[in-house]
Amino acid sequence: MPLKLLVTAKRVEDPESRIQVKPDGTGIVTEGVNYKLNPFDEIAVEEALRLEEQHGGEVVVVSIGGARAVTELRAALAMGADRGIHVRHDGPLDPVVVSALLAKVFEQEKPDLAILGKQSIDDDQNQAGQYLAERLGLGQATFASKHDSLESEAEQKRLPGLAVSADGTRVTVVREVDGGVETLEVRLPAVVTTDLRLNKPRFASLPGIMKAKKKEIREIPAASLGVDLTPKVAVRKLAAPPARKGGVKVADVDELVRKLRDEAKAV
């Protein structure tokens, strides 16, 4: 059974860039910062492409954001996704709004499976996938992983870690939990979020980058989707972590314990 897969592609700050908090604490300095496709979403795109290779179907990527979000959609299309949807919104977002917008796109597209990164590496909230499943009343499997290692033969052959049944009604998901792994079976349509060890995403090839230019990206103004675009959460203040102070050398364990108790107040 061919599968229709809806995958998220969020634009995030490249952690290799120098990230600085604005002096007034309202955000980060965006000048000189590079952006990239959220690595967890990259894994989601890779998983969708593998499922498509196995079952046939279509991979649709969706990104919510300003004009520049098209770059990340193109990156996902260059990996091999078939078409893109750009939900155009220039203001601030939170997971409540994001999941409401994604739910509208889901209702329009009617995919068999939505695959999202478990979180985005900018604010690490880890909520959009869960909210989305709840809004749609669908089953969810978060933190999808797999038994095979990323060095295994299955991984070299780019086999999917998610197992969709031949009749296309269920997906089996191995997920990481404290102290082990859990295997869930979820009825389709469903929402899955990806963890780090699900797969190693492919690099976009040069022919892939060129083909991506010709693929369709449909822009939908966020305001047209009938969703309350007011974030429920506002960022009050951002601050850089305190600079690490130089260490001191201690002569023996007694001195260490004394300093931990009297100076660091740690014991």
Binding site: T71, A78, F203, A204, S205, L206, P207
Partner: protein, 385 residues
Amino acid sequence: MRRRMPGLDPFTEDHQAFRRTVREFCERELAPHARAWDAAAEFPRALFRTFGELGFFGIRHPPEWGGTGLDWWYVVAYAEELVRCRNAGLAMAMLVHGEMAIPVIADLGTDEQKREFLAPAIRGERIAALAISEPDAGSDVAALRTTARRDGDDLVVNGAKTWITNGARADFLTLAVRTGGPGHEGLSLLLFPTDTPGFQVSRTLEKVGNPSSDTALLFFEDCRVPARWLLGEENQGFYHVMANFQGERLVAAVQAVAGMQLMVEDALRYAGERSAFGRPLARMQVWRHKLAEHLTAIEAARWLTYRACDLLQRGEPAVKEISMAKLFACDLAQRVAYDCMQLHGGMGYVLETDVARAWRDVRVMTIAGGTSEIMKEIISRAAGM
């Protein structure tokens, strides 16, 4: 309304998207193995396939042979980012294959030659080497002595080649041979499959730098290959070789500039972290000024290189500018490497530090692909001396 002049930046968003792919691939998949591959004196052969799948070998070549048919600036972006694999031997091997040994097939080859040699090389399935230098003729191409004598429908090759990058691994060679009389009028290019009886890899040379790339001495004894593997016109090989050198030298200049940029980035980071006499090296005027000088010179080298690429891309005469770019960038790289290593102090002398390996590997750049002295000869002739 004021008219705005177009900017000089030759890279479009598409070039930059490709640049990101090359950079991420190099940093994630190659750089973590850089030292191990140096220690093993080789890198996995399978990487040629990977490069092929990513489209790195077919950048400028026509789509009908598996290429992408793009411009020189994609090659520049590729060569610039490739230095981030932190293994100069690997970078050289890949550039020799994709940018030195096979473009001449795309330019001059018959359809049969493109099907047999170019297409599988673009896919990374057949590895190519460019075999020109000989034990008695390096820079002096017109003095080559390896012969290819006609015998019916075949050519019979005898002779030796040396300093051949990919020589031990190559599935075929783009080989310069003497088919006619002495001097530059008697040379031809020949596609030479290395499974031809009588061909022998005499030994892999132990080099100062680039340890992961195989550099070989090759022997040919009555090697019989079909005459239809002659590439381009018979006895016009000298001109084909000289034309092919232009792309090779441009790529060498690009690599030198990108390599320097990386060394200075490393030095800047280290200078910020490392303190001596109570303050970071980056606060010391001697190093601040030294690095400022190098950054300025690197910027000049970059734009000389881009100027040469612009001429080549537009099909204008570019020999003088390409020779200048190679001369300037590769010479400068020696001084930049020296100073960046010096700044690292003792850490600069241990091979676990990237700059130490870069210092060792950069040395070949004023020698390979035409020495600095040859570049000066070309430039002085072009200036009418």
